[in-house]
């Protein structure tokens, strides 16, 4: 781990003490979001020290022009940027005319941050001595409402403690913001109107190019010692900024308070011409409810999320804090309400990676959302890709594929590819297989075959076509080969016959044809329109099957393992434990060529295949491959430790599984990868959930129902988790002594525990 300042706590993330070096890290860790918007934990008041400012609106992006050294045919025209949105949280403070700025205060004591995950709010408090020697005590609490997801609320309280003072509370809106990752200090927002009315103000702006119109609004209330005051604000504005200044005379020990309701209304959800009126109406509603009422609703909303999604760990507070942090962040990022949205790898906590959607969703996030939400949420995630099928076909056409073959993008906002490293965009094609895998995963878990007949098969056919066309025949090997790819391990580029990719390609074709046959016999009317729409014929099916049947897989007789790719054994096979610590992380220390020719693996690659298709291999095969590959794995992808944790647990290596679990669950809290300042790793958090549920709990789907093989790390007394399985909730409690299952539902459920059948009646408990 790289940092250790977060206080262990079961339900909260807590920082104590002010350290300018930690501000950017904490801005990431204390981020809040409600699925529709979110922000980094920037201070409300001015801060002139190092900070990374960020507010984000779901679905609002900017297609930044891409420039690469040398253009290659097929590169996308733009790179989608997660866009820093207008700031509505700002509240400047003046104390006897002196600006409050923690970077310039004479002292800052009792500084404390708390992110209360149970109730969904963030609070910061501190005691500061300003340059003019006035001492103030400040508490600021804020949350983004889950109920009214266009609104957030801040209660900002300040008390002069050593003398009376004139306190100006200056809430503002600012659309003159920039992205940290702007290439050329470009502005991405065009502000076209500022307005104010009594205690409210609005900025109307739109994103350039994409033309998302956004009304950023605020409505304020002023208090002294908790009693609302009617103070007329002084308004000041310039082209992209507006503030309301409330000036109060405050006696020593009295508390001046400001409640600020703010947020966005966006043309994605409203008519452009209604944005300001809608903003006003929503802010009025929030304002009239008041901070405390809204906060109580917030607590209830989070309570109902936790009721389903919580994992309780007894006897290990750091592990408990880790998993709750992960579950909390996933729910802050994506709630599944809106099929146009997806799960950005940094959520609302940073700009890095751009775009909202990676294969992370299909490969890592679906299980979490299937088990902890209504199954419609996972279906929404699948539908997102179905809606992008046409763009995926266009994307494949740009690369020379024909006849309705689809290549889903590596990174996207709207279905178009928007990433442009050739070794990723053009070659990391295994992502395409994850789309089919997610359908398979959804169907086996939910039993909802209607998705396949209505949408899924079309996607699967387009993907099978891609693999069919992408494979080529090697006369040398007398097999089909897939040349020039990048596997999940991005520390290899443009390799031949990446085992994972080849395996997935074969599987995608076979699974597609299996479904064609199922639909042909069992859903005849669907079969007709799908075949007509996709123009599929038996000749093409036969050709596809030929590729699947004759696929080549690199294999070492010596080690009895599938090789990650052709030529892997030519590398200097020095394991990671023989690598000098000073050389790590290698992605920060080594030049790219050195990484590429090394044996080091960024994340599960061959093992990713063993994870996804576990039941197609024996435990001995898994052991051999795990023992061969894990020692070369540097886990420098956030998606790496979770898969290894699950596999270590499957191999009864609980110490190793536990170590990987800590690494995945506290990746950001302890900043393992030395980059938490840039934002959190949201998608891998779903992997943390899998580490417990699939790893320790051993959840699998077997014979069309749930199967468990519960294990428990020796550090824990017990743990519990819940899964929503086909609209019944199964609650699982594992302790050192045994496992109990409680079913909330209406139908008896058959499950397997350690391969033995058990039947659970509704609302009853069994112990194994």
């Amino acid at each position: 781990m790289n940092q250790d300042y977060i206080k262990p706590d079961n339900w909260s993330i807590i920082e104590e003490g002010f350290d300018v070096e930690r501000v950017k890290s904490s801005e990431s860790l204390f981020s809040i979001g409600n699925g529709a918007m979110g922000q980094r934990a920037n201070f409300e008041e001015t801060y002139t020290g190092p900070t990374f400012q960020g507010s984000y609106i779901a679905g609002v992006y900017y297609p930044d022009k891409t420039r690469v050294g040398w253009w290659k045919n097929g590169y996308p025209e733009y790179f989608a940027k997660v866009l820093n949105a207008p700031n509505w949280i700002g509240i400047d403070i003046e104390v006897d005319g002196e600006k409050l700025d923690l970077y310039t205060c004479k002292s800052v004591t009792n500084f404390r941050r708390e992110l209360n995950m149970k109730e969904g709010w963030y609070q910061r408090s501190f005691h500061a001595v300003l340059p003019n020697n006035i001492e103030v005590s400040v508490t600021s609490t804020r949350f983004l409402s889950l109920d009214l997801d266009e609104v957030g609320a801040i209660k900002y309280e300040i008390t002069p403690v050593n003398q009376e003072a004139t306190i100006a509370l200056i809430p503002y809106l600012d659309s003159g913001i920039m992205n940290e990752d702007t290439n050329w200090d470009d502005k991405f927002w065009d502000t076209y109107n500022l307005a104010h009315e009594e205690n409210a103000a609005y900025i109307l702006s739109k994103t350039m190019k994409t033309e998302y119109h956004v009304c950023t609004g605020m409505m304020n209330q002023v208090f002294v010692n908790g009693i609302q005051k009617n103070v007329s604000p002084k308004v000041e504005a310039n082209g992209t900024y507006i503030h309301l200044k409330y000036t109060l005379q405050v006696r020593k020990g009295e508390t001046a308070g400001l409640t600020k309701f703010g947020g966005y209304t966006v043309s994605l959800n409203h008519k452009e011409e209604d944005l300001q009126a809608t903003s006003k109406a929503i802010l009025k509603q929030a304002s009239e409810s008041g901070f405390n009422t809204l906060l109580n609703l917030q607590k209830k909303a989070w309570s109902s999320i936790w009721e389903m999604a919580d994992i309780v760990i007894e006897g290990d507070v750091k592990a408990q804090q880790g998993i709750r942090f992960n579950i909390f962040q996933l729910n802050q990022t994506y709630l599944g309400k809106d099929a146009r949205l997806n799960i950005g790898p940094k959520g609302f906590t940073g700009e890095k990676y751009g775009g909202s959607t990676y294969w992370d969703t299909e490969a890592y996030c679906i299980p979490f959302y299937m088990a902890t939400k209504d199954q419609g949420v996972a279906r929404n995630l699948l539908t997102y890709r179905y809606n992008h099928l046409e763009k995926a076909i266009e994307n494949a056409e740009k690369l020379g594929f024909t006849n309705g073959a689809a290549l889903y993008p590596m990174v996207t906002m709207n279905g178009e590819e928007c990433h442009n490293e050739w070794e990723i965009t053009f070659e990391e094609i295994h992502r395409n297989g994850a789309m089919t895998f997610a359908i398979y995963n959804y169907v086996r878990y939910t039993g909802d075959y209607t998705y396949v007949t209505e949408k899924g098969l079309e996607v699967m056919i387009a993907i099978a076509r891609f693999w069919h066309q992408r494979a080529t025949f090697s006369t040398e090997k007398n097999k089909y080969v897939i040349l020039g790819v990048t596997g999940p391990n991005e520390y290899e580029n443009n390799v031949n016959n990446n085992w994972y990719t080849n395996y997935l390609a074969k599987w995608c074709i076979e699974y597609c044809i299996e479904n064609i046959n199922t639909i042909k016999t069992q859903y005849k009317s669907d079969y007709q329109w799908i075949i007509e729409k996709t123009n599929l014929n038996q000749e093409e099916i036969n050709a596809m099957l030929e590729v699947a049947d004759q696929m080549y897989f690199p294999y070492s007789e010596k080690y009895q393992v599938y090789l990650q790719q052709d030529g892997f054994l030519d590398k200097e096979l020095i394991t990671v434990d023989n690598l000098d610590r000073s050389q790590r992380p290698i992605n920060q220390k080594w030049s790219w060529d050195r990484i590429l020719r090394s044996p080091y693996i960024k994340q599960a690659d061959t093992l990713q295949g063993f994870y996804m298709f576990e039941d197609q291999f024996t435990k001995e095969e898994l052991t051999r491959h795990f023992d061969f590959y894990e020692p070369f794995t540097v886990h420098e992808s956030s998606l790496s430790p979770c898969v290894h944790s699950i596999q270590a647990a499957a191999l009864d290596r609980m110490d190793q599984a536990y170590t990987f679990y800590l690494r995945t669950s506290r990746l950001d809290l302890d900043d393992y990868n030395k980059e938490v300042e840039e934002g959190l790793h949201i998608t891998s958090m779903a992997g943390t959930w899998m580490s417990i549920v699939e790893g320790f709990g051993g959840l699998r789907i077997k014979n069309d129902t749930l199967s468990f093989s519960p294990k428990i790390p020796k550090e824990w007394k017990g743990y519990t988790f819940n899964v929503n399985f086909r609209n019944q909730i199964l609650k699982v409690k594992v302790s050192q002594e045994g496992t109990s299952f409680t079913l909330e539902g209406t139908k008896e459920l058959l499950i397997y525990v350690d391969n033995k059948e058990f039947k659970i009646s509704p609302n009853s408990l069994i112990t194994v």
Copy 2:
């Protein structure tokens, strides 16, 4: 070929007829340069049609900030841009107040361009009807002086043919220019002074970042019917532009003329504070000599270049025009006077590729300069790399190499790497071997071993160290392997065991150690200081030799050929002649991944090794490899046809050799690669020279002297070429009947012709 509008002519490049579609191509083809500066053939007067404006000053570049999608460790901070320099050729024309602009004229007839290569001047003439119906006849002649290489001269003559007219001649200077390849419309020049005096004007500007100060100057003379007139100009200027406007009343049929002397003085060569005074002095000198006197000097200077460098081809005017165009452009680009300069791949004809120096110089250009110039020119080129040795060591250190290992940059202006595609910058490491090869080539040709003792061995040791460290041991193969490289064929990236690279690595180590041993026994005092300076010991030498001895080479028993790289035979081996024409050039039609997994070869790769180390292989081996690889070669690198022409000639396949010869010699004239608009391919022009001298003439070095095996394409009556061999000139004349040799020198010369010994006395002729 892609275009066919250049008139065949033995000594000139001629275009007839005005076609807006051809303007940019012709701007490239009619470019002029004098080694110190150069320009594209832009019109002097305003042209509002499609044009690519370019003036360039040798050694003046701009380190443009590089932006890549995702930064990788070791990337250089900047990409060197060939910088469009202030325009001094501009002469605007107004006829009765109407601007002359060929794009808006009612008609343009008798349009003709001629680039006279024999005498080194460029002329354009036309007849135009302006929108105001005035008909004018214009002739403009210009050249860049070889004698005064900071000066160029233009004679611009205009005659109103249908009525009298007020003609304004408006010579100007303009530093408000931009690069075509600017990423963000950035300006790279900062203009800080404009001045004028009588008929002269000056702009002082400097490049941003690199701070090259440049005085751009002009001095003008006005004539009517050839008689100089004293007309006071009206001056107009703004921040980056200054003109002098001469207004003349000209009768129908009379000719208004302007002679403009212009050019640059640069802080590379003068003190910054003297630039304007120096410019003035030089322009005055030119101006007082007058246009015709300067032009006569120009003719003489080119005559002496041609005396040595000309190749005469009888009976094939297109072939003749091609080779002269190539020799002419090489001499326009680099004359070997200044060891700080090198041979940019586009010379002074365009911006593409950036940077001035590629491995092209060492691999392709050295033989031409060795044989057609004093041998000091080639030594200067080698010294250029010696002077960059320290930077090459730093470059290797950035990539993790130690102990004085050097990696020469892929592209450079000052020794630093300035290209940033990882697959090129980090992996196209074979360039390093070309540095050693050039020393070997120089020594075997010139016999000048002092270069090795004084400078070359240091370079060779640093390069041998690189190869030693870069190779790794494969226990699987029980050999040393070189993983993750890009060979000369850039249509493969990040491959393992590129045969050419492995072969070159082995050879570099062996040749270095051979020279260490030679110096140890024959140059003992040099040995001492070199060993001390480089800190070399026997242990390191042994380790290096072990790598060379145990190097792995991929080989196919089935085809009996070395494989371009591991896995080459897994590709779909469809030869180029089975590829649909509409798919070519593949680099314009296919996405990068498709190119990479195809078998298609951009330029000689395995065959490049057979070219460089021809005497290490049998003719049967060459035949086999040529027959295997050439059918997959698309020759989309300008450096490709020449090597294949030489090898086809060596294999007595004269038809094929001739086809390749035409392709290399007329690559730009006929625009084979559909990109001549961007500029000319200068470095490959040296390959054209090699095609004749080494290919048809069969020139090799054998037993420390010249060896020939002359052949002649059936299309030719005969051809001649000259080589400067160790300060004697051998003139070679090959005809269908036989070959004659004439020696200009002082010592008898032994040569081989078709492996038979002949002795030639000075100033005598032998016929074989």
